[in-house]
Symmetry: C2
Subunit: 336 residues, 2 copies
């Protein structure tokens, strides 16, 4: 193969608070040859996701933290340019744990072959990938929405939130979103069919939520934590469910933020708060992915991608994601 | 009937913070005659329970608050001294919503006839009554304990907690309790069979819990809220469950206490926090009560009552309950 240099983003320092560009460093290595059972993938799209902030933290979690000097973790979509596996052919498009790099050698069994006729290949990182599956399983399996339920979703135009809101609408629910800009608010109402949107940066979330959900919130799909979550718990309907998917408002704090205790609300409302991870539902991923892709094809599930061009921009784009600067699923386009 | 005066405790003022004796006032009225379908009950035991603090608060909850000048609410066990119902006979012992008073006329259908051969009649307010049922249903139906689970229960020697701990032991669990005195700690270990006890007033709950539950807490039965709950959430096992039954540490605060945000733990542990009310399980009360009574009779379920003698002492005893001054199920003995 003609390629010989692989550029990758490695961790230079563990970020303290909000990550800085200097926390990342470019490293150049030889492109390796795949060994038996492995494939060599050239990255087309790299996914940037909020969960990655957790991997930068040196503490016990559901996954091992990234070490200093290691290539930053991340899922990508790429083209197979060499294969030592019978299951994956050169030229196949795969989604896999690729890392923030131009090339990766991965075990073939960890790569999923993407069928471009199902949906655009970039969606394998978004609406038909991990974020879409997170929305699908979280809302349907953990939240168990019923027609007539009022569903609140935070980061409502984001990679996960936009799918939650649209599936909730398919499910006969009334959907309220929270967002951080007027542009995102307009998108939720005009494109995604939300019934109401609250801009948490400019509006009083408690007052607006009480107004928008007069019968209370049956399901709150929590991507952000913080005061939006406080308001949701305060406004739960009887047997309300808070599905804790993400807490991005908290990820860059070095000391935990303080909040009013509110578990009493759970007793009076016989309500629950439940955290979940998408990995738990992997037995149902194929069915879910096929449905998500069919909804993309027939136009009933809209999606928006925020595509940043060029490997060099990955750290800056990731830092923007922590502040909500992106609009839609954030991807880095690495090559054609 | 010879009795003509009924003394009752009414609400003089809504308490601000911890209730004071002056928030209650004795009122004297004529004992009324029961009308069709009603019974006249003479109170033998009055139950004092933490939930009553909520009824003194003028805010929406699962029950209507007590009004100023109204008789304070409370369940009691009494003897029927007049009946206009075919279902309840004079001389029967009944448990009913009796209020803090010496006599009450209640609709017969709201009274439950207590069989003294099942268990001592006072237990109809404790281990075989609402607190026992709360423990039984909360632990078994909401918590779904498995043998080998580590169960943490706060207010571990209390009316609810002591039943939770003992049923968890029957269920093959390892049981850790939190209490507020050495005497209660000794009782939990020596009488109730707890595996470990933490005195939240004298010990570092976070450190001691991490030590006592090295594999994490599978179920935390929360009667108190506050820092014990923070420590439990911090130490949850994978798929841990926090059952929110009571929050007594918070009931007498006029402003909500602040606490570190910790919902991130729910994601990484795929855990949940769930509030419940015992009323939700009333279809299963008869089965549960029969089991609790049989365990009382065969000695496998121990209980302890803290019986205060005399109607006049009810407010002081209730105030003591808010501070954990009682040791066991708190009852007021009203007459023989």
């Amino acid at each position: 193969m003609p390629e010989s240099v692989n550029r990758s983003w490695t961790i230079a320092n563990r970020p303290y608070g909000y990550p800085k560009e200097s926390d990342f460093a470019i490293s150049e290595t030889e492109v390796e040859d795949p060994k038996h059972g492995e494939i060599l993938v050239r990255t087309l799209y790299l996914s940037l996701d909020p969960y990655m902030r957790g991997r930068l933290r040196d503490r016990r979690s559901y996954a091992i933290p990234v070490g200093i000097g290691d290539v930053m973790v991340g899922e990508g979509v790429g083209r197979v340019i060499a294969s030592q596996s019978e299951d994956v052919a050169v030229g196949d498009i795969v989604a896999c744990q690729i890392g923030w790099q131009e090339y990766a050698v991965v075990p073939a069994h960890t790569a999923r072959v993407v069928d471009p006729s199902m949906a655009p290949i970039s969606t394998a990182l978004g609406v038909t990938g991990m974020p879409g599956l997170t929305a699908y399983h979280g809302l349907l399996a953990v939240g168990r929405p019923r027609p007539g339920d009022t569903v609140l979703v935070s980061a409502a135009s984001g990679a996960v939130g936009a799918v939650v809101g649209q599936i909730a609408k398919m499910n006969g629910c009334r959907v309220i979103g929270t967002v951080g800009s007027q542009q995102k608010a307009d998108y939720c109402i005009q494109e995604l069919g939300y019934d109401a949107v609250i801009n948490y940066k400019t509006e009083d979330v408690f007052a607006r939520l009480a107004e928008a959900a007069p019968d209370g919130v049956d399901i709150y799909f929590d991507n952000v934590g913080g005061t939006v979550t406080d308001a949701a718990i305060e406004n739960l309907a009887l047997r309300g469910r808070v599905l804790v998917c993400g807490q991005i408002s908290q990820y860059n704090l070095e000391e935990p933020e303080m909040a009013p205790r509110n578990l009493w609300n759970l007793i009076t409302k016989q309500a629950r708060i439940e955290g979940f991870l998408v990995f738990n539902f992997q037995n149902d991923h194929d069915v879910a992915r096929a449905r998500l892709a069919s909804w993309v094809r027939d136009g009933s599930l809209k999606y928006r991608e925020d595509i940043v061009d060029g490997f060099e921009r990955a750290p800056r784009a990731f830092i923007g994601l922590m502040n909500g600067a992106n609009f839609g699923k954030l991807l880095v386009k690495m090559s054609d």
